[in-house]
Point group: none
DNA sequence: TCACAAATGAAAATGATTATCATTTCCATC
DNA sequence: GATGGAAATGATAATCATTTTCATTTGTGA
């Protein structure tokens, strides 16, 4: 059993609490941290085990790690230039909760992304 | 532009309307169909484009294809057994539309999934 | 210092998916 | 029936995230 390298968690926080393993790795490299990709993966898995971060999936299937407990937000993404805006999802939270209750689900989480073409494109 | 090979759709139906590309391929092989993996992928993509099947993700990120009705809906998925319920997302439609408008986005689409543990698990 | 367990990371393996590209099948037209 | 071009097909190679392997390094208690 390996414990999480604290620099991984700190980098995930700095990334806005929302990133893939590859992104965390690249970010750490850019910041001059000496760390291997393997350790990044191991640390993130360990954080998921300890329920410190959530494991979600992007549309293409890539794993993304999200800090738990953090008041999470959603994204508005431009399909053309990739520009991303963080948005609030109060309506979604309520919707997810009530839908889950209606069907007897518990331990509920959700994902929601909006995509389109931004005004610059 | 390639159209879907009808045998792929028919196999997906026979598989219970819920399978990965690899599974559809293996199933067709077992049944003696002469078809290439490439064609299976292409056909499934085309079916997704035509909104004849939905593209979801397993826990491990593998793409699974699922027959669905033609109305736009969302999913409530059990993280444990994979059981899926189709749900309405009226609130989401409005939320996505207004958020996109607020930020000047056009040609807007969205994804939203709720996941949790179902009552049987 | 010594020994040993845990952590690390480079490199190879895995497995799904996508891209390439030559070949085959369709179909309309002659 | 022959012909020509467009679409479909599929074997193979490439891609990319993720996992495994395994040798090396680091930390720690005796």
């Amino acid at each position: 059993m390996s414990r999480s390298n604290p620099r991984v968690l700190s980098t995930l926080e700095r990334a806005g609490g929302f990133a893939s393993a590859q992104e965390v790795y690249k970010l750490m490299q850019r910041e001059g941290e000496k760390i291997g990709l393997t350790t990044v993966y191991r640390s993130l898995q360990s954080l998921v085990n300890d329920k410190i971060v959530d494991l979600l999936r992007r549309e293409d299937g890539e794993a993304i790690y999200r800090l738990c407990g953090e008041h999470h937000h959603h994204h508005l993404v431009c399909k053309n230039c990739g520009d991303t805006v963080e948005i609030e999802g109060g309506a979604i939270e309520k919707w997810a909760k009530s839908m889950a209750e209606d069907h007897g689900f518990r331990d509920v989480g959700h994902t929601a992304e909006i995509f389109g073409i931004c005004s610059k494109c």
